[in-house]
């Protein structure tokens, strides 16, 4: 794995605030077809640089639980490493889009509030990890790439 590229990727996520909204980006790590790199290896490398927790989004987990976990991780001022292994359903997609656009979650009737608004802490970020083949063939939302700022392509 190219350490320098990973460092730049993390650094861009940490530092870059888009003008004029001043929002941070969500990051995307794409494992290219034929790449031998394992997700655990990538996660461990990132863990050496930032305080990060991993969530696996697959058939065994519900959107509501993923959202709860992200909220919880953000409350601890940590980064989120979200490994996507199934097509993203509407509730999570809504929140990822809101996070990308406004760096906040906007949830209706959540935790006792009519409109729950939670800003992503200054020291937290969200990185999505998935495979190129999966994005191209399984993700039904056609603007998936638009959710992210820097993209790290792993060959």
């Amino acid at each position: 794995m190219e350490e320098e590229k990973l460092n730049t990727f993390i650094r861009l996520l940490q530092r870059v605030r888009k003008q004029p909204s001043q929002t941070f980006d969500l990051g995307l790590i794409v494992k290219e077809l034929g790449s031998q790199i394992e997700v655990e290896e990538v996660f461990e490398e990132i863990k050496k640089i930032v305080d990060i927790e991993r969530i696996v989004y697959d058939e065994t987990i519900f959107d509501g639980d993923v959202i709860d976990k992200i909220v919880d991780i953000f409350r601890k001022n940590r980064w989120v490493f979200l490994e996507i292994k199934k097509d993203i359903s509407s509730p999570l997609l809504n929140q990822l889009k809101h996070l990308a656009n406004h760096n906040s979650f906007q949830l209706i009737d959540y935790q006792g509030k009519d409109i729950f608004d939670m800003k992503m802490p200054e020291n937290s970020r969200l990185i999505v990890f998935t495979e190129r083949d999966f994005i191209e063939n399984k993700i039904s939302y056609p603007h998936f790439y638009r959710l992210f700022g820097p993209t790290l392509s792993l060959k």
Binding site: S90, I108, P150
Partner: protein
């Protein structure tokens, strides 16, 4: 002398209109747009209490128009906030066209649907419009459509109240089944068709049916259910509290702005639900009836407004044409691509760092404070806008059968601009910023690594190299034809030298010119001497040459 019959005195109202129009069309010394949005305060007397109070208004119009349509709206934002919000809007023609339409439709309680390409700024301007009305940092209620959007998320649903994690898991599994969703919507349809029952009876019937459904799935039939409103009724009855939070009142709420994004991705049943929002005379509905709640009505507050946005259908495989019935019920505006002029303007705003605060101190990783050198920013803007446009054209062609497309947005440029402040590369020979390499590096992260098509990626990399360093990318710069890299190097060199170095170089230049003059003087003296010594030189010429005095 004018004909007295044609002289007309303008009313105060007309003079005020002219003044507002002048301010809407105001331009700066370099022709840059300064108007578009005008803030005004007015003193008004409350007819009941007779107390005088100040009301704040904004006027919005398209400054590119010769006779702009100007809309006046009441605002909760202060003058400083409006000034700051204005500063964050790149004054492109398309931005004002959108803002002006938003203002006009908002005022007349008409919902608006804008169909336009990704980079046009629909989402960003919906956010800015909300801030213009409510103050900085206030965002609209956002709802994003996708092929998986469920009507219940938009309108309303019943959710079981469960205590344990195990119960929660069971219920989630049950509720996520497509079959369950069909059965739940059947309950709503049955209630809608039950005419003779009172609302209370309908509610009781809903509960019975929900319990039966739970029982059929082997879940506890004694589970309690709670009713949850979706995004539409919530926005109709929202109240923005003074502390910035929101509360909901289905009868007395004043309403808020709802932005329904990517409506072109929504399935027909979602569109059918949205048709409930159509009211009389092209306006938004004053109330909607929710059968999920036994037919109870939710009132739309006076500040409720819906803005739909979507991308053109030809851009994506999964995108549908905007439903004709929905299109008829809204003000439908179709926008084209951003013009080249606007794209370059946006790039200039980003790379001359005019939209936000510049760093007070040079950040770590910054070799040259390019944010203080607009002359460099303007040259970068030319390169980036050309590359952006080139790639966008390639991406528009799309790839056969591919679901994912990568439409470029202005955010891509904004990211490169911001990253360029402190993600710089040093030229090992000169020790100065290597702007060409730094740009290539960032373009790779923000534009190229997203591409799945490796051939396209290689082509675009080659195109970028040609644009920066090749002959075809050469342009005129200070009377010379140079590559962009050469121009960058010159500008970086100029910007990198310190004041002391600058003075020293100026002194050296003066000294060099003095020496050149001295040399020229000696050369001339030698030439005269040679001519005088030459026996073939005519006496008349020699006489004239002796008269020459060199200083």
């Amino acid at each position: 002398m004018p004909n007295p019959e044609t002289i007309r005195f303008k009313s105060q109202e007309e003079l005020k209109e002219e003044e507002i129009e002048r301010r809407i069309k105001e331009k700066g010394p370099e022709g840059e747009i300064l108007g578009g949005i005008v803030f005004e305060e007015e003193k008004v007397v409350d007819p009941e209490t007779e107390e005088e109070r100040t009301k704040r208004y904004i006027y919005i119009g398209n400054p590119y128009e010769e006779r702009p349509i100007i809309t006046k709206l009441e605002t909760g934002a202060s003058q400083e906030e409006i000034k700051a919000i204005k500063r964050e809007i790149i004054p492109m023609r398309e931005s004002f066209e959108i803002l002006e339409t938003m203002a006009r439709t908002y005022k007349h309680r008409q919902s608006l649907l804008i169909e336009g390409p990704t980079a046009i700024g629909k989402t960003y301007l919906a956010d800015k419009f909300t801030e213009l009305l409510y103050g900085r940092g206030v965002k609209p209620l956002d709802f994003y459509c996708s092929g998986q959007t469920d009507v219940s998320e938009l309108m309303a649903k019943w959710v079981p109240k469960v205590e344990t994690e195990e119960e929660k898991k069971k219920w989630n599994e049950f509720l996520e089944l497509a079959e369950t969703q069909v059965k739940l919507s059947q309950i709503t349809q049955e209630i809608e068709q039950t005419e003779r029952l009172s609302q209370e009876q309908k509610l009781a019937l809903i509960h019975t049916k929900l319990q039966e459904l739970a029982k059929s799935a082997g879940l506890s039939e004694t589970t309690k259910w709670q009713f949850q409103y979706g995004a539409v009724p919530k926005a109709m009855g929202l109240i923005k509290n003074t502390d910035g939070s929101f509360s909901f009142d289905e009868q007395k709420g004043v309403g808020f702005i709802l932005h329904i994004e990517e409506v072109g991705l929504a399935e027909p049943q979602v569109i059918n639900a949205l048709l409930k929002l159509r009211g009389k005379r092209g306006q938004l509905a004053e109330e909607i009836q929710l059968w999920e709640n036994g037919g109870r009505k939710v009132k739309a507050g006076p500040k409720f407004w819906v803005f739909f946005s979507t991308n053109p259908p030809e851009e994506y495989l999964a995108r549908n044409e905007v439903d004709p019935a929905l299109a008829r019920g809204v003000v439908f505006k179709r926008m084209g691509e951003l013009s080249q002029e606007s794209l370059l303007l946006a790039a200039e705003y980003y790379f001359t760092y005019r939209l936000g605060e510049k760093p007070k101190e040079k950040p770590e990783g910054c070799i040259l404070d390019i944010y203080n050198h607009p002359e460099i920013g303007r040259e970068i803007a030319k390169v980036i806008s050309a590359f952006h446009n080139d790639l966008n054209k390639e991406l528009k062609k799309g790839e056969k059968g591919r679901m994912q497309r990568i439409p470029l947005t202005l955010d891509d440029m904004a990211r490169v601009a911001d990253a360029l402040i402190d993600t710089q590369i040093r030229n090992k020979e000169t020790g100065r910023l290597d702007l060409t390499e730094a740009l290539k590096n960032l373009i790779r992260f923000y534009y190229l690594d997203r591409l799945a098509d490796q051939d396209l990626k290689e082509t675009m990399e080659a195109n970028l190299n040609e644009l920066l360093e090749g002959d075809t990318g050469k342009i005129k710069f200070e009377e010379k034809t140079l590559t962009r890299k050469e121009i960058f190097d010159i500008l970086v060199e100029r910007a990198s030298i310190t004041e002391e170095e600058k003075k020293r170089l100026e002194q050296e230049e003066i000294e060099r010119k003095r020496r050149e003059l001295e040399q020229a003087k000696h050369d001339t003296e030698d030439a005269i001497m040679l001519a005088l010594q030459n026996p073939n030189t005519p006496e008349e010429i020699k006489k004239r040459l002796r008269e020459i005095k060199l200083e």
